[in-house]
Symmetry: C2
Subunit: 394 residues, 2 copies
């Protein structure tokens, strides 16, 4: 595995016995100095205990550690759940010798079952012992649920001769859609930045990445993205140029992580970008692209490698976006399948079928009504999605 | 098979060679006298040629025949498609010896392929020959696509000593959601009624039936419900009492047909009514019930017979309806699973699992915030749904 490090940060992942079938299920990020922090959380009105706690604590703008468990979402667990979240943070803080309110927490897994906090407390000493500058891969493994591979990326950029690093760790893999999902993402940078500026940049990057992906249209109660900046590089974001370069690097990292999440969508075999262009407004393009990207009929056709453009137009037509049906063009990559609302015939279809056999391709719907465009990343919808989700708790 | 008749109506279904794997694929309804007629059509902005044609013709309020094909939706087929729809109606009218604009048409099947109108024209003489008072079962068979059984129901009611009959024929089975679906439904009654009154009653009955079902959240380009009344019973709707009795009979018939459509949803093994009660408004209850009823995660859990109430609360929380999380109760039939937002424990869960093993049950979410309620019928989401839809055109 590649070495993934970010100055002044350590990470770890251990097995605490929370996952039914064993494996790493407890992770930790630790910054040697208190870092500034910003977060983006689920818009679901039912929110897990760790989300409730993090929202409170993040107001200070400071954080030194994040402890994460998989195997249990600690959601719909009432007062007991909030107490369990606090206990998790408290014992981690004690072991690390840092302030309790500088510890944030996240959970992912089954909703509605009590968090076995005693198992976490028993594992925390080992977790802290395991902290390592190169521990991000272990962390990535510890936060996986139905993910089939860990998701860690690192980006290094230079601005005015100085170098900074960003490391991101994410997990999917169901319940993903724009406005987020049980999608956890932890981003560490050795740059220095005000927490309000971090928040602004994180929201922009999230809109350009995780808010442009969908797997099954469901949104989780636990979605969390955290961005920490500890200043260990000696570089500070204090000019427009710095802001621009950092934003670009953050965007790139989060977009690449988001694409990994879709690629690893439950049962997914294909990564598809659905682009709507020629729209009157970006909102129209977004709405239609999302409707198409979430259509079960479109997604099962992707799985069947069937260039069933009728389903695409069907989804476009029900999206609520005004359309002129006989102006619509549809492309699979560069192959034009539909011109002015009518199919381009058997030859185009057989070329499009070749595109559909690829692991990654772009579906473009051109409304020819304006100049706005928007793209959403989605995956196909396979037999395995159903199998995974019918059996998830058993 | 039960004899299904309605005074003054005949029906038929024959094989015209439109379906790839053979079988009946062309159906006809004929009224001995011109009937009044009303229709409800898809809200999808991409509309098939027959829908475009019917919308025009139905304005007259009169109709004497409906010709329906499966195997081809005649949608996104441009000018040629509209010409094919007109040709279908014209040759049927000629064969029946009736006015061309008294013929309505419907199509269902694959979108975007030219309708082989010559096959239809060749089959129409046989179709007309086959007309029979007891032909509704053949018609029901001819309009099936992925349906696994024909859907025909008959209801007879007496008002002030006089009897009237309503016969309904429907097909599902994918692309079903509130606001309709490639859902075709043809309803014949021997009552006499003004076409504007018919339209009003049909819209009410549709809201109470087909607009309360969902299979996969997709909405088709071809949805059509037609209601014809030919007066052959000698009974006329000319009092509030008549209107009330007819409305009740129509509601019952359409609700029962709609439930058959969900039961026969693609790959479905269970019929579930999702009820949201204790809501502030009916709109809130409808919105949340629809979100839950369309959640892939909830529906795959139904398939897995997994009382995964966390997913239900997850869907409730993302529906956009304001909630007080710690007031929510959840029931499977009479088994309380969640009280005040927290799970009721292992015993409740094992009782709920028994409910989930049933072929039909009710999921109730009580928000305890008001007195409004609404129910949506849905089905589970199985491995077979994906298989059916990945292979549909091949």
């Amino acid at each position: 595995m590649k070495k993934i490090t970010c100055k002044g940060f350590k990470a770890a992942g251990v097995a605490a016995g929370l996952k039914k079938h064993g494996g790493k299920d407890l992770g930790l990020i630790f910054s040697e100095v208190p870092a500034t922090v910003a977060g983006v959380f689920t818009k679901n009105l039912i929110q897990a205990a760790p989300v409730v706690l993090d929202r409170e604590r993040i107001a200070s703008g400071l954080c030194q550690a994040v402890v994460v468990n998989s195997g249990n979402a600690n959601c719909c667990t009432g007062e007991q759940g909030l107490a369990a979240a606090k206990a998790t943070a408290a014992c981690t803080a004690a072991e690390l010798g840092i302030a309790e309110d500088h510890v944030l927490i996240s959970s992912t897994g089954v909703i509605g079952q009590p968090l076995p906090v005693e198992k976490i407390e028993a594992a925390v000493p080992d977790l802290v012992q395991s902290l390592h500058p190169d521990g991000f891969n272990d962390l990535a493994e510890a936060i996986m649920t139905t993910d089939t591979f860990p998701k860690v990326l690192r980006i290094e950029e230079t601005v005015e001769g100085k170098t900074f690093t960003i490391v991101g760790v994410a997990k999917g893999a169901g319940m993903i859609r724009p406005d987020m999902a049980t999608m956890l993402c932890f981003v560490c940078s050795d740059i220095q930045a005000d927490h309000r500026l971090l928040g602004k940049m994180l929201r922009i990057a999230t809109d350009r990445s995780f808010n442009r992906i969908t797997i099954d249209g469901d949104t989780s109660t636990n979605d969390t993205i955290l961005l920490m900046a500890n200043g260990s590089s000696g570089l500070s974001i204090d000019s427009d140029e710095h802001t621009k370069v950092f934003q670009q690097a953050l965007d790139t990292l989060l977009i690449d992580l988001a694409k990994l999440v879709v690629k690893d969508g439950e049962g997914a075999t294909k990564l598809v970008e659905v682009v709507v262009r020629g729209a009157r407004t970006k909102e129209d393009a977004d709405r239609m692209a999302s409707t198409i990207a979430n259509s079960n009929l479109v997604k099962t056709a992707f799985f069947g490698e069937d260039a069933n453009w009728g389903r695409i137009l069907g989804a476009a037509g029900r999206s609520g976006v005004p359309v002129i049906p006989d102006k619509i063009d549809v492309y699979f990559d560069d192959v034009m399948m539909v011109k002015n609302g009518v199919g381009c015939g058997i030859e185009a279809e057989s070329k499009a079928t070749q595109v559909l056999k690829k692991a990654e391709f772009t579906l473009t719907v051109d409304l020819n009504m304006g100049t706005a465009a928007h793209g959403i990343f989605t995956c196909d919808f396979s037999v395995d999605y159903v199998k995974i989700n019918a059996d998830y708790r058993s």
